[in-house]
């Protein structure tokens, strides 16, 4: 009743991955090294900086984003709590991983979102791929990724990017399509080119939505750190994993708490920034 298509698909994929490794191994290795150089540099900086400097930086960034002293102070206290949990080093590793992964997500996600908003064909191609990226279990692509890039941080970043980029693409696409048609028409009527409309009208007006996308991407990337630790990325995820492996729920909880605290810091800061971007919508009296 069911013709067997599973075996040929599996065989083809295996052969393809093998071919990639044999024929293009050097290429992937150079990508891996490039990413690694950046990641290590960021990680070194964060880990070697004295914690008070990092805490101050958290406060300044949170204040710059929100213009709210209270929020800045609250974020500093939260970051200090992570250190009190004894997970400062791990947190710095995780943040470095996060910065690189979210950076790559932004570089890929925003242009793809713009493309999807502008072309119906592009959207028809991109959407099912996004569905796939969000639903397929991460181990499915972690195995070939680990084969191509080796165990460690690079496949962890790859997995994080695959898992965390879709909301940014979707929200960029949505944000641009929801820009008031009248405003776009007006700028067309004044002779704006497509590029001028995109830069001057569509992206600025879609920015709150895009910021929401970056926020979502960051949250999802944080959720990925535990999985990532299983293929050798260090950081807070590793603490959770150790708790799991050693039947030590206390340690696991500490790791979990630290992840939640990081999530709250990133979320509140970026939300406050997103809200400030929409300041022009408020009516001053």
């Amino acid at each position: 009743m069911f013709p067997d298509i599973g075996t040929p698909i599996a065989d083809t994929v295996n052969q393809f991955v093998e071919w990639l490794i044999v024929e293009h191994g050097a290429f992937f290795e150079s990508i891996a090294n490039g990413v690694l150089v950046v990641l290590v540099a960021i990680e070194q900086t964060l880990r070697s900086a004295p914690p008070p400097v990092i805490l101050a930086a958290v406060g300044v960034i949170a204040f710059a984003a929100s213009r709210n002293v209270l929020l800045g102070l609250a974020m500093v206290v939260l970051a200090w709590l992570v250190g009190c949990l004894g997970l400062w080093e791990q947190a710095m590793q995780t943040v470095a991983l996060l910065i690189v992964a979210v950076g790559i997500s932004i570089v890929l996600g925003i242009p793809l979102g713009v493309l999807a908003a502008r072309s119906r064909i592009a959207r028809a191609v991109i959407n099912p791929i996004l569905d796939l990226m969000q639903t397929i279990p991460s181990f499915v692509y972690l195995i070939p990724a680990a084969m191509l890039f080796g165990l460690g941080k690079v496949p962890a970043i790859l997995a994080t990017v695959i898992y965390a980029t879709p909301p940014l693409i979707r929200l960029t696409d949505l944000g641009i399509r929801q820009v008031d048609h009248d405003v776009v028409e007006a700028s067309r009527a004044f002779g704006a080119t497509r590029g001028q409309i995109l830069r001057g009208v569509q992206i600025p007006l879609a920015l709150p939505s895009i910021m929401q996308g970056i926020n979502q991407t960051t949250m999802m990337a944080l959720a990925m750190v535990v999985i990532a630790s299983m293929i050798g990325a260090r950081g807070i995820g590793e603490t959770v994993l150790i708790g799991l492996q050693r039947n030590d729920p206390g340690t696991g909880l500490l790791g979990g708490l630290a992840i939640v605290i990081l999530a709250v810091i990133f979320d509140r800061t970026s939300q406050a920034y997103g809200a400030r971007l929409q300041a022009y919508r408020r009516v001053r009296s």
Partner: protein, 397 residues
């Protein structure tokens, strides 16, 4: 050649515009076309021309295709068929770059729902057209600031559109359009979203600006009063077809069909029409004729009254009796000497304002233009004819 030439332009929105248009040419109606093929006939063979410096109003109810029509002029919409020339340029033949340049330099548009950039301040909105053209920031700010104060928004430069009332927002829209110095101003229901009082204020200001700037304005409206007030000429659009194109007086006094007639039926013509729109040429214009010549001319034309014009313009009237009497008494060398100063009406005055003088006079009253020259005459009979409803006029005929 007119500045804007629209020839045989048709537009169909829908899945198969070309085929739909072929069906229309075979005689299929708009409603049947929609029901059978899901194509909407928005414009049907529209031909019109707009002269340089005139205010051309396109009037129609919603769904008449008026907004579609104005968007053809800067090609925000491409026609299914037809030809559009602006200042001799075939707009439909322009490539993308050329079209963008054309829009930057030739046309500027004001929108019903303003279309302001919400994330930019008033001054940056006004400077937008210049920014698109690549004008340096300092220069475009200076030029924009001048227009901001021209439209009465000085002091609001750094506000965002959301902080302004509708009327103020549309002032920004108008300033943005004027700031580009484009020759053609396209106004799509520009004042329709405003309160009546603000609307008539904006109309006044537009007319004052137009008196100074002499732009070519294409103004879309669904409001006949607005059309009559602003338009040098008015085009009436119904279901995508032009019903009539003419001056306000032509539209009011000689509606082309029952649709236009129904539209203009309730207009207060006495207030809308000016005397120069309905005046007649004087039957006899006299200058420095001798009394004999004048009398002969009056007898030849059967005129009881002559209108005397001198170097300084209109002088007054002479009746045939007065000329005969003067001739008998040898009282004067020529008609100018016996011209009687009589009331006159300035051209540009509405019929309502001219009514008392016209009715009080036993003979047609002279209409005098701004330079004092005799422009025409207006009689009580003519006023009655113009103001009578169509039904009464037809009954009289």
């Amino acid at each position: 050649m007119a500045l804007i030439e629209v020839r045989h332009v048709s537009k169909v929105f829908g899945p198969a515009p070309k085929k739909a248009l072929a069906l229309v040419r075979e005689g299929m109606g708009k409603d049947e076309l929609l029901a059978r093929t899901r194509n909407v006939l928005a414009l049907d063979d529209v031909t019109l021309s707009v002269e340089r410096g005139e205010t051309f109003v396109v009037m129609g109810l919603s769904g008449s295709g008026k907004s579609t029509l104005i968007r053809h002029l800067n090609r925000l919409i491409d026609p299914t068929e037809g030809e559009i020339r602006i200042d001799g340029v075939d707009v439909l033949g322009l490539p993308n770059r050329g079209l963008e340049t054309f829009r930057r330099e030739k046309t500027a548009m004001v929108f019903q729902r303003f279309g302001l950039l919400p994330h930019r301040t008033v001054i940056d909105n006004v400077a937008y057209g210049l920014e698109i053209r690549g004008v340096a920031k300092a220069e475009r700010r200076t030029r924009a600031a001048a227009w901001v104060s021209t439209v009465g928004l000085a002091g609001y430069e750094d506000r965002y559109p959301a902080e302004l009332s509708g009327g103020m927002q549309q002032r920004v829209g108008l300033a943005r359009a004027l700031c580009t110095d484009a020759e053609i101003l396209l106004m799509d229901e520009a004042f329709s979203a405003l309160d009546p009082l603000i609307r008539s204020q904006m109309q006044d200001e537009l007319m004052a600006l137009q008196g100074r700037l002499r732009k070519t304005i294409v103004f879309i409206t669904h409001d006949l009063d607005e059309a009559l007030r602003l338009g040098d000429r008015i085009a009436i659009l119904k279901d995508g077809r032009l019903s009539q194109v003419g001056t306000p007086a032509e539209i009011l006094l000689h509606p082309a069909d029952s649709y236009v007639r129904a539209f203009v039926k309730d207009v207060n013509r006495a207030r809308v029409l000016t005397v120069d729109a309905v005046m007649k040429p004087p039957p006899l214009r006299l200058t420095d004729e001798t009394l004999e010549e004048a009398l002969a001319a009056m007898q030849r034309r059967g005129a009881e009254i002559g209108y005397v014009v001198g170097d300084q313009g209109y002088r007054g009237i002479v009746t045939r009796d007065a000329v005969s009497a003067a001739l008998r008494n040898h009282a004067a060398p020529n008609v100018a000497a016996i011209a009687v100063d009589s009331p006159s009406i300035g051209s540009g005055v509405s019929i309502a304002e001219a009514l008392p003088a016209t009715l009080a006079s036993t003979f047609p009253v002279a209409v005098v233009d701004a330079d004092g020259a005799l422009a025409g005459i207006i009689s009580a009979d003519r006023v009655g004819e113009v103001l009578a409803p169509f039904e009464a006029r037809e009954a009289a005929e």
